[in-house]
C-alpha cells in the first residue's frame, strides 16, 4: 500500500496534502495536541532491545546518503557500561541540492527531538549532540527553542525521559558547525564536536565502539531519526507497505522519503513520496513539470556527489537501487537537481569540481590535489582551450580518487569521482565539442627508447 497520508510531513503542509504557504513552526503545545511524543511513550513501554528490533525489522535505511540500515547500526554498540554514550544527530546538510532536513528543522523540530529521545532510549545513549551546520542560523534558533521547550516539558533532563516515565536520563545539546562540508562525514562531525578541525578518522575503530571523546557513539541523520516516530506509531507493516522491494537482489527500499527537488522545475521544494517513485512522476506530478515548457536534459541523482542521470534516465526509479541500475553512486539524499535542455553540462561539471576543491579537507593527497587539478582542467575545457587528451585525463584523475579505488580515508572524493565521471560519460559529446583534437605532428622523429610516452602504457 503506497503512502496515503503524510507521515514525516504530518504537521508540515506539503503537496498533495496541503499548501506550503500555510507552513509555520510547530511549537511544543501544538505538537503535543496533535499526538506528539506518543511514540516515545510507546517506546518507553517496551524494552530498549525491542525498540531496536522494531527499527531493525522495518529495515530503515539511513536517510543521510549512504542508506545503511539504522537498526543494524544500533546493534553494533557494545553493552552499556554505566559511562557516557553519545548520539550525534547529523544535520550538516551541506550537499549541494539537498535541503530536506531544513524543512523538518524549520517547521517540525519536535518530530526530530522525539526521534532523538526514542533512539537514545533504544540504544541507551545518555547524551545527544544535535550537530547543525553553521549556515543554518535561523534553523539553529528554532531547534534551540524546541530543545528548551522539551526540557521545560520534561522530555529531556534529570527527571528521566518523558517526565520520569523512564528512569533513563537524556541530555540534548545543540552544537553549531561553522561551514565545512566535511563535517557531514560521521567521523569529521565527531572531530568538530570535539572542537578540532573536521578531519575524518580512519576506521576501524568504528564510532559505535570508539566515537565521540573515545566513547561508543551512534551518528544518525535527522530524517532517519524522525522516521522512527511514525514507525512506532503506525507499525512496521505500514512502513514496509510504503516504498518498494529491490529488483536487483539488494536490500529493500521501504518507507516514505523526503525528496527535495530543485533546478528548472515549476514548483521546486520538498515532497514526501514513496521510495521508488519514477523521477518523471516526481517532476511532472509533484513539481508541476519543467519550467518554461523546456525539455528534461539531466538531473543530479541526489546531491552532487551521487553523479548525474542522463537524458534517457528520466524514468529512473528513485530508490536505493538507483546506483546499480542507473550508473550513479547511489540515491544519496534523494534530492535531485533538474536541468533543462539549455543547461551547459560542462559548466555543471566545473561547478561541482569547484565545490569539491573548496570542500576537500586536505587530509588525503589524491582528494586534495586531484580536486584542484580537475577544476583546472574542467575550467580549461569550459574556456575552449583544452584538447581531447585533457578529457581523458580528467576521467582518469576522477577514477583514481576515493574509497572505491581505495585511496582516501572518507567518501568525499568518491562524490567528486562519480560526479565528474558520470557527467563526462553521459554527456561526452558536449565535452568533445568544446575540446580541440590532440594532434601530434607527423614530422616529429620518434625514438623507441627514452621518448616521452614510450613504454608508459
Amino acid at each position: 500500500m503506497p503512502l496515503t497520508e503524510p507521515a514525516l510531513t504530518k504537521r508540515i503542509p506539503t503537496f498533495p496534502w496541503g499548501d506550503p504557504k500555510n507552513r509555520r513552526t510547530v511549537g511544543i503545545d501544538e505538537y503535543l495536541a496533535t499526538g506528539g511524543y506518543k511514540s516515545l511513550e510507546k517506546a518507553l513501554s517496551m524494552q530498549p532491545g525491542e525498540v531496536v528490533n522494531t527499527i531493525k525489522d522495518a529495515v530503515v535505511r539511513g536517510r543521510g546518503g549512504a542508506g545503511f540500515p539504522a537498526g543494524l547500526k544500533w546493534t553494533f554498540l557494545p553493552p552499556p557500561d554505566g559511562k557516557t554514550r553519545y548520539l550525534c544527530i547529523n544535520c550538516d546538510e551541506a550537499e549541494p541540492g539537498t535541503f530536506k532536513d531544513r524543512l523538518l528543522c524549520d517547521f517540525d523540530p519536535h518530530l526530530i527531538l522525539e526521534g532523538i529521545a526514542i533512539a537514545c532510549y533504544a540504544c541507551q545513549l545518555d547524551t545527544a549532540f544535535f550537530f547543525i551546520r553553521g549556515e543554518y542560523h535561523h534553523q539553529a534558533k528554532v531547534v534551540q527553542r524546541a530543545i528548551d521547550e522539551a526540557y521545560a516539558k520534561g522530555i529531556f533532563g534529570k527527571q528521566g525521559l518523558l517526565r520520569g516515565a523512564s528512569q533513563f536520563k537524556v541530555e540534548c545539546y545543540l552544537h553549531r558547525g561553522a561551514g565545512a562540508y566535511i563535517c557531514g562525514e560521521e567521523t569529521g562531525l565527531l572531530e568538530a564536536i570535539e572542537g578540532k578541525r573536521g578531519w575524518p578518522r580512519i576506521k576501524p575503530p568504528f564510532p559505535a565502539v570508539k566515537g565521540l571523546f573515545g566513547r561508543p557513539t551512534i551518528i544518525n541523520n535527522v530524517e532517519t531519526l524522525a522516521a522512527c516516530v511514525p514507525i512506532l506509531e503506525k507499525g512496521v507493516a505500514w512502513w514496509k507497505g510504503c516504498g518498494c522491494e529491490s529488483t536487483v537482489g539488494g536490500m529493500p527500499s521501504y518507507g516514505p522519503k523526503l525528496m527535495g527537488v530543485s533546478g528548472h522545475v515549476n514548483r521546486p521544494g520538498v515532497y514526501e513520496c514513496d521510495l521508488g517513485i519514477p523521477l518523471r512522476k516526481l517532476v511532472e506530478e509533484y513539481c508541476g513539470g519543467m519550467r518554461n515548457g523546456k525539455k528534461f536534459k539531466g538531473a543530479i541523482a541526489g546531491g552532487v556527489s551521487m553523479g548525474v542521470l542522463g537524458t534517457d534516465q528520466y524514468d529512473a526509479a528513485m530508490d536505493f537501487d538507483i546506483g546499480r541500475k542507473c550508473d550513479v553512486l547511489g540515491l544519496g539524499t534523494a534530492c535531485p537537481t533538474i536541468f533543462d535542455e539549455d543547461t551547459d553540462m560542462v559548466a555543471v561539471a566545473r561547478n561541482i569540481a569547484r565545490f569539491f576543491k573548496n570542500e576537500s579537507c586536505g587530509q588525503c593527497t589524491p582528494c586534495r590535489e586531484g580536486s584542484g587539478w580537475m577544476l583546472k582542467i574542467l575550467t580549461r575545457i569550459e574556456r575552449g582551450d583544452a584538447t581531447t587528451k585533457d578529457l581523458d585525463l580528467v576521467v582518469e584523475i576522477a577514477g583514481s580518487m576515493g574509497l572505491t579505488p581505495g585511496t582516501t580515508i572518507c567518501g568525499l572524493a568518491d562524490g567528486n569521482n562519480f560526479a565528474v565521471r558520470t557527467i563526462v560519460n553521459k554527456f561526452r559529446g558536449e565535452f568533445e565539442k568544446r575540446v580541440k583534437p590532440h594532434y601530434v605532428a607527423t614530422s616529429v622523429p620518434v625514438t623507441t627508447r627514452g621518448a616521452v610516452g614510450a613504454g608508459a602504457r
Binding site: G134, E135, R176, G179, I193, T337
Partner: protein, 181 residues
C-alpha cells in the same frame, strides 16, 4: 573550508589591554558550556562563534586567551579557527554578503548577483570595502536550493533573489547601524 594560510611565527600580534574573553564570559562558559563536553577542548567552537559574532573576526589575542582558558595550545585554537569558513582571522565588514554559488544557484543564475555586487561595491569575492561596511563572500550550498538563487546577509537568508532585490538590501545595509540582523 577556508584554507587560510597560517601566519609565520615572527608575526607581531596586535594586542589590547582589555581582554576579549571577559570574566563574565568565562564564568558563563564554565557554568553552561564546559560541563556539556567531556574535554575542555570541546567548548572551542561555541566560544569561537561568540568571538566571531562579536568582533567579526577572531583576533589573535583572543585565540591566546581562549587557549589559556581551555588549557589547550594556541596552535590548536588557530588550527580550528582557520579550518572553518565561518571564522575569519581578518576583520569582515559589518554586512557580510554571502552569495551561494553551488549547483542549483548557478543554474538559476547566481552569477548576475555576484557581478552586480562586484560592480556596485567594487570588491571581488572574499574582499572587504575600504569603509569596512561590506564583505562579499561566495559560499558553497546554503541548503535552500528550492528558492535559488539565495544569499546570506549576515545571518539572514534571502531567497529567490533578483538584482533589484539585492540592490535594495545593499542600500538598506548601507544606511543601517551595522548591527547583525
Amino acid at each position: 573550508m577556508s584554507w587560510t594560510t597560517k601566519p609565520s611565527a615572527t608575526q607581531k600580534i596586535p594586542t589590547r589591554t582589555e581582554p576579549y574573553l571577559t570574566a563574565a564570559m568565562k564564568d558563563r562558559y564554565e557554568r553552561e558550556l564546559i560541563p556539556r563536553y567531556a574535554t575542555r577542548h570541546g567548548a572551542l567552537m561555541p566560544i569561537l562563534h561568540d568571538i566571531q559574532h562579536e568582533h567579526r573576526h577572531i583576533p589573535y589575542q583572543a585565540m591566546l586567551e581562549i587557549a589559556a582558558f581551555l588549557k589547550i595550545t594556541p596552535a590548536e585554537v588557530l588550527d580550528t579557527a582557520t579550518f572553518y569558513e565561518e571564522y575569519s582571522v581578518h576583520e569582515r565588514g559589518t554586512c557580510v554578503i554571502g552569495i551561494c554559488q553551488s549547483i542549483a544557484c548557478e543554474v538559476c543564475d547566481h552569477k548576475k548577483l555576484v557581478d552586480h555586487v562586484r560592480g556596485k561595491l567594487g570588491i571581488e569575492p572574499h574582499e572587504t570595502t575600504d569603509d569596512g561596511k561590506f564583505t562579499l563572500l561566495t559560499l558553497e550550498c546554503l541548503g535552500s536550493c528550492d528558492t535559488a538563487p539565495v544569499a546570506l546577509f549576515n545571518e539572514t537568508l534571502h531567497e529567490k533573489l533578483t538584482v533589484e532585490k539585492l540592490d535594495q538590501l545593499i542600500e538598506e545595509a548601507k544606511h543601517s547601524s551595522g548591527e547583525h540582523h
